[in-house]
């Protein structure tokens, strides 16, 4: 779980309030440290990455030259890249619905009980705080093909045992299970924040209007008013899932048979193991492009429907 990602400018700027005019010098005095960091650790490196992607730079090699879009051509023409992208997308498509619906379900359930809410919130959020690398090893053991308890449970139920990390067809699902496990609690907290903001009055009005049963209440009031939250959760979950790395690096190393190679792992190998910096830079730019498209697309599609408050 790393940086969260935000809503587009339109929603943030919607809150228009009277602002004081400050002398520029004073304002920038406040904003300067952050701006400096932004330029040096964010914007400049991004520009450099883009520049590097047009070179054939390799770490340690003396001669470098501009190769134009050669890197992009070779990366996009490489079947491996598409394979890796496909894996990442499949993983994302598994994790996002699971963690979003799971988080929503947990949030609604936790808020529906009168007592003990805080305890449940705390319990379900614990996986989020756990070090994924550490828990990955635990999950490796849990899902172990022979000695893992899950397989023992399956065996006890009369079902065939599964090579969770050994079967190329299953490995992405296994990784997705771990991803959902870690993300659901986080989404739950976000959804609870959204649920708490729904005015109690609306539920009363719904009851008087006849929407009394839990199902009716959910679809008449809860879900529509969770719109903005839902958008936020889906976008952040997608980006988090797309950035999967830890579990792959520790558990599968991309295997078995490259079935779990994901884009960040590939970039890592390319840039820091094989030291083909130029090529890795190109992949990084493509990675960034995917993420931007992901956020932009999701926001565009749902923004109009979702912001009515």
């Amino acid at each position: 779980m790393t940086n969260c990602h935000a809503l587009p400018a339109q929603q943030a700027e919607r809150v228009t309030e009277k602002k004081r005019r400050w002398p520029d010098s004073m304002a920038w005095w406040f904003a300067m440290p952050a701006t400096f960091l932004m330029l040096s650790t964010m914007l400049l490196p991004v520009i450099i990455v883009m520049l590097l992607s047009f070179t054939n730079y390799e770490l340690g090699m003396p001669d470098t030259g501009f190769v134009g879009i050669d890197n992009y051509v070779s990366v996009l023409g490489d079947a491996k890249f598409w394979h890796v992208l496909r894996n990442t997308v499949v993983y994302t498509l598994l994790v996002v619905p699971g963690s979003v619906i799971g988080g929503l379900f947990l949030a609604v359930l936790v808020q529906s009980v009168g007592k003990g809410r805080r305890i449940y919130q705390c319990l379900f959020f614990l996986p989020v705080t756990a070090t994924l690398v550490a828990m990955a090893t635990v999950w490796k053991y849990l899902l172990h093909g022979q000695i893992g308890p899950i397989n023992q449970l399956l065996h006890a139920l009369g079902l065939p045992q599964m090579e969770f990390f050994g079967d190329p067809g299953l490995v992405l699902i296994s990784l997705a299970i771990i991803g959902i496990w870690q993300l659901a609690g986080f989404n739950m907290v976000l959804f609870i924040a959204g649920l708490v903001a729904i005015p109690e009055d609306l539920y009363d009005a719904a009851r008087v209007d006849g929407a009394d049963r839990p199902w009716d209440r959910f679809f008449t009031v809860t879900l529509p008013l969770l719109g903005p939250t839902m958008l936020f959760v889906i976008v952040t979950s997608s980006i988090t899932a797309f950035k999967v790395f830890d579990t792959v690096a520790v558990l599968t190393r991309g295997g078995p048979q490259a079935a779990s190679e994901v884009i960040l792992y590939q970039i890592y190998l390319e840039g820091f193991q094989y030291l083909r910096t130029g090529s890795a830079a190109a992949m990084t730019v493509l990675f960034l492009a995917c993420i931007l498209v992901l956020s932009w697309l999701q926001t565009r599609l749902t923004e109009k429907k979702v912001h009515y408050l």
Binding site: N3, P23, L52, L109, C122, P127, T131, T137, V138
Partner: protein
Amino acid sequence: MTPQTGYGARLLSQLTLSSCLRHGTLLVLALIMLFPFYWMIVTAFRPAQEVFSGSFNWLPQQFVGWDNFRTALADAPLLRYMLNGAIVCAGVLLVQLATAIPCGWALARYRFRGDRILFGAVLLGLCIPIQVPAIPLFLGLAATDLLNTYFALMVPFFLSVFAIFLFRQSFKIFPEDIVQAARLDGLSEMAILWQIVVPASKPAIAAFSVFSVTSHWNDLYWPLIVITNAELMTPPLGLASFADPEIGANFGALMASATIVTLPLMILYLFIQRHFIQGVTNTGVR
């Protein structure tokens, strides 16, 4: 005046079927969610042969006490890793707060030349994950011979656009009246921010701190890139390098080390969770 129906009786009547069902479901789900933790802790107390025995037991058949923990601490400098993690997280958090709070305040309340560009850059930055500037930062640190240092571990995270965004949202709703009153009392703008606004924004700061510490304690990608010296490894990195040879061999010790590494953050969270949840709810991270 005593109520006709006792308070206790009324409580009992609330114990309806539906509430039992809800609590039941929640408890089952909680057990499933927490099962990995349980298994981790229990296995840390099992001997190796029991781990590989292939039979499922809820509790260790043979309790080996702290043996696995001793092995884990001996085989890998786990405490050192955790110290490194603490140093890095603390350093990062301090700089993040020191830079993001003023910037968020300026963006929240005041118009100044370039504020729209700045905010646009913040929003853009929210979409740029740390892995993107990783290569150039690595090259820069390599060129200045700053790899394998605490500074290298912290540098990419000093800037937190998420913090700027979060604090801007939170400061936007701070009552202007209080700020005016402070001005009339003669406080400088800096003083207003740090002495008036910040203490009142503790939930938001707590919420962000939890996010920050959690994600940087648990980060693997960046330490993997800049650190090769075992003395400076952070917990995930240390554990990853430790786990490699051990995975086949001593699961008990591995689980023990996983427990040691995971516990601090979980305990920290348990202490701070009330403020954290309140902070998330208040600032409406939507």
